[in-house]
Symmetry: C2
Subunit: 124 residues, 2 copies
């Protein structure tokens, strides 16, 4: 590595690094439902059918798959409470909390973008 004048070389290296980071980030956050599910469970822990009701349009198959995936990646935890009958509660882990600023920026930008799309539709 050439680390002689790193302050001046920021853009190029930063860019390559950012690119890797972003690809890695999107790899675990991809798909239509992941961020929505994390957001929902950050808001409050829920059971399977509660999530299904809240996240409009998700099928049980997809929900089960996504929950497994999120649990594998340590974003959520599935806990079985030995009530009769058992209650199964999904909740966001601390690690999910590290996504808050990403979610916030994405949400802010999403709002901006929607406004822009509306605007450009008005013009046409």
């Amino acid at each position: 590595m050439k680390t002689i004048e790193e302050q001046e070389l920021l853009t190029k290296d930063e860019c390559a690094g950012s690119l890797r980071n972003i690809i890695d980030a999107l790899y675990v956050l991809n798909g239509k439902w992941k961020i929505a599910l994390i957001l929902s469970l950050i808001q409050s822990p829920k059971r399977f059918n509660e999530i299904k009701k809240e996240i409009d349009g998700i099928s049980p198959k997809i929900l089960a798959k996504e929950l497994k995936d999120l649990e594998l990646n340590d974003f959520i935890k599935r806990t079985v409470y030995p009530t009769t009958p058992v209650s199964i509660i999904y909740h966001a882990t601390d690690y999910s909390q590290t996504l808050k600023s990403v979610i916030h920026e994405l949400s802010t930008w999403g709002a901006l973008h929607r406004e822009k799309v509306k605007e450009s539709m008005r013009k046409k």
Copy 2:
């Protein structure tokens, strides 16, 4: 009982708003290459084959498709300069710049996440 359902629906405005925003944002940023391409063109304007060389592994078909898509959504501009032979330069628009904080947060989180994955692999 089915009468409880209706009360539930009203209490989650914040979440629903964020959710919509995020879905809208991801709708235009989805796929394996979009953010990488925007980042590359924010760094500097480039021609087709320059991008192809920089973004490792992208095929010309996909690159052409993604560039069209990004242009439609006003993230980049395709300009033809009447040199001989013509030069075709793609560059990021001002609108791409509005994505900077999203890209920054995503990149920061991606780096954190990679560290975490390494960490958990060491433990196993």
